[in-house]
């Protein structure tokens, strides 16, 4: 039994034999042809292009049905390359000049373009190299009359193991034959990760050495939630994971039945269930899981892994897309939350002794108003395309809130002067994640349109626990009486002045704690899309009066452990057999 760790890309547990896909390499020999064979070669080439086009369009149709329009659009870029006049003309011209077989010429021309593109420092072009490669291989395969390994005749479900998977590879795998993905390279935002998520197939990427350690047919357990792969597990481990897998499956079937129903308690109180996202591409999955909006759109992704700063246009296009896709539901964009454990590669961040207490989030933005304003302008401009709201992270007091508002006003005035339209009524909120903000929520409430409690930070700040430190991680307790009381205070003062309170930390997706939060009066739960059906199910299974009673009882308890146990017991009672 060997255990491998990678990046958790798509959650869920799968058990199955490994099915390894090697890198596809073609051996293409250079063959001289006779002058009179040129028309035949051209015809071969044209037929290969037509066949490839048909394949891509079919693939696109299937993907649109299986995974949504958005994933299908990846292949639009493939069609653009396939139909490229310059590429086609160059192949035909060289064929005539050199009298060499078309497969060879095509592979040479392809290489030339890939070489040029690989040298250009541009994120977008790097993606295009993958597209050109993918289409190129498809055309070559058709030119040579070869077939890609097909997954259709597999007798049992397999875990696909590969160095990397192209969008075509991932898409060619049918849901009924593949129960997991493992790759050597790739990150959370790789094609494999995004596709696996929308297919809801567990995936672990970036394992470095999966293709070395795993042999064809090895029995694999893959846990996409933790990024763990177990190769040839012993019986006990297998039994444990089998149980877990069965449990997850049974539960999710029950929950899926309610995913598109509103989150209303038995006595008629309705709350909003929204989703947390990081990438615009996640919108499809958000809608699929029945979210009524986006409660937290993290925007740090724009700034990661690149040398330059994102332009206003880039921000704008992404926000516009998300706003339009989610219409009429609201989308809350959190302004830049860098620092702590997320850094900008293009700016020099000083090394800090305590980064979580340092120059981060709104503090950074207020010190760099030029960077901040680019984002604010983009959010404002996009606000006419749907229902956008914005919120500032890490507000610690009224002073910071006013400074941020001032920059927002400047951005608005700029747009007014430029006669650029925006929603002047856009709602602005503050995240409550610093204990001082929670304690002074009454002072902040008068200056914003809503609150969103960020529990991950609120818990670590109020309990003084660094979660990543193994020695103290046990002290990180969402159910700690201090945390529950703080949340109660925030909700009460917000409601007294008539503003709504959401929560966008992990706590809002913890089934047992949802009972308490509901009872305390939380208006919106912003959670990962995958847990939406479950949380809706729970809310629909309880009366608000009962939840209030549970919250009231929980507030009398003296330790986090007691609160946790109490709420777990209540959850069991409510859900009965599930």
């Amino acid at each position: 039994m060997i255990e491998l760790k990678g990046i958790a890309a798509a959650s869920g547990i799968s058990i199955g034999p490994a099915y390894k896909i090697g890198k596809e390499e073609f051996i293409i020999t250079k063959e001289q042809i006779r002058l009179e064979d040129i028309p035949v070669q051209i015809q071969l080439f044209e037929e290969a292009l037509i066949r490839t086009r048909r394949e891509i369009i079919e693939l696109q149709k299937r993907i649109a049905v299986d995974m949504g329009q958005e994933q299908a659009e990846i292949f639009d870029a493939h069609l653009l390359v396939l139909e490229d006049r310059m590429l086609i003309e160059e192949v035909i011209l060289r064929l005539k000049q050199e009298c060499v077989n078309v497969a060879y010429i095509f592979s040479e021309v392809l290489k030339k373009y890939i070489n040029v593109f690989s040298k250009i420092e541009d994120e977008y072009l790097k993606e295009r190299v993958a597209d050109v490669n993918d289409v190129g291989k498809r055309i070559l395969r058709n030119l040579l009359g070869k077939k890609r390994k097909s997954f259709e005749d597999l007798k049992e479900k397999v875990v696909v193991v590969a160095h990397d998977l192209s969008p075509s590879d991932t898409a060619a795998m049918h849901k009924q034959n593949v129960c997991g993905f493992v790759t050597d390279i790739g990150g959370k935002t790789s094609h494999t990760a995004i596709m696996a998520k929308s297919l809801e197939i567990p995936a672990v990427v970036g394992t470095q050495e999966a293709t070395v350690k795993i042999k064809m047919g090895d029995l694999l357990i893959i846990d996409g939630g933790t990024g763990t792969i177990i190769i040839n597990p012993d019986e006990e481990t297998l039994r444990v994971y089998h149980q877990e897998e069965q449990k997850l499956k049974g539960i999710s079937e029950r929950f899926l039945l309610v995913k598109d129903l509103p989150a209303v308690t038995l006595d008629g109180k309705s709350v909003e269930i929204t989703a947390n996202i990081e990438l615009p591409e996640e919108v499809a999955s958000v809608k699929l899981h029945g979210a009524e909006g986006i409660g937290l759109y993290r925007t740090e992704f724009f700034y990661m892994n690149r040398k330059d700063l994102p332009s206003e246009e880039e921000h704008y296009q992404a926000y516009k897309y998300v706003a339009e896709e989610m219409k009429p539901y609201p989308v809350i964009i959190r302004t830049l939350d860098l620092g702590g454990d997320k850094f900008l590669s293009q700016l020099q961040f000083p090394r800090e002794m305590q980064p979580f207490l340092g120059w981060r989030a709104i503090r950074f933005c207020l010190a760099q108003p030029d960077i901040f304003k680019v984002q604010l302008r983009a959010i404002l401009r996009a606000s006419i395309h749907g229902k956008l709201k914005l919120m500032y992270p890490m507000i610690s007091g009224v002073e910071e809130l006013r400074q941020a508002h001032k920059i927002l006003e400047e951005a608005k005035n700029e747009l007014i002067n430029e006669a650029v339209p925006f929603d002047n009524e856009i709602e602005v909120g503050a995240m409550i994640e610093v204990p001082s903000a929670a304690m002074t929520a009454d002072l902040l409430a008068g200056e914003v349109d809503f609150f969103s409690i960020g529990t991950n930070d609120l818990i670590q700040y109020s309990l003084a626990v660094d979660r990543t430190n193994e020695k103290v991680a046990y002290l990180y307790e969402p159910a700690h009486p201090a945390v529950i009381r703080m949340i109660k205070n925030v909700i009460e003062v917000a409601h007294s002045v008539g503003i709504r309170v959401g929560m966008c930390g992990e706590m809002a997706g913890e089934p047992a704690l949802v009972l308490i939060l509901l009872g305390l009066g939380l208006d919106e739960f912003s959670i990962p899309p995958q847990v939406i059906p479950e949380i809706k199910y729970i809310i629909r299974s309880i009366a608000l009066s009962e939840a209030q009673h549970i919250a009231c009882e929980a507030l009398k308890l003296s330790t986090g452990k007691e609160v946790e146990e109490f709420s777990q017991a209540k959850l069991k009672e409510i859900l009965g057999g599930v």
Binding site: D84, R85, M86, Y113
Partner: protein
């Protein structure tokens, strides 16, 4: 048939790669006129994504668009809009 050419400075922040390049090619393909784009010594087909990307035209670089055909002037007018858009 008219052959028209026009010198244009690329104003997009991303230059003529990324999304603007794809947009450029899509629009160019709507016209019957043949379209060529020149930058320094490079000449590429304006209806080819590979060609436009190979030009590597950054923000601020000077390119010449040549169009030949009945709808040449309309083509140039539309294409100019894309590259002089300061996004």
């Amino acid at each position: 048939m008219a052959l028209i050419n026009k010198k244009i400075i690329v104003k997009n922040k991303q230059g003529l790669h990324a999304r603007p390049a794809a947009l450029f090619v899509q629009i160019a393909n709507k016209f019957d006129a043949s379209i060529t784009v020149r930058r320094a010594d490079e000449r590429v087909n304006g209806k080819s994504i590979m060609g436009i990307l190979m030009l590597g035209a950054e923000k601020g670089s000077e390119i010449i668009i040549e169009a030949e055909g009945t709808d040449a002037s309309a083509a140039i007018a539309e294409l100019e809009k894309i590259i002089s858009n300061e996004g």
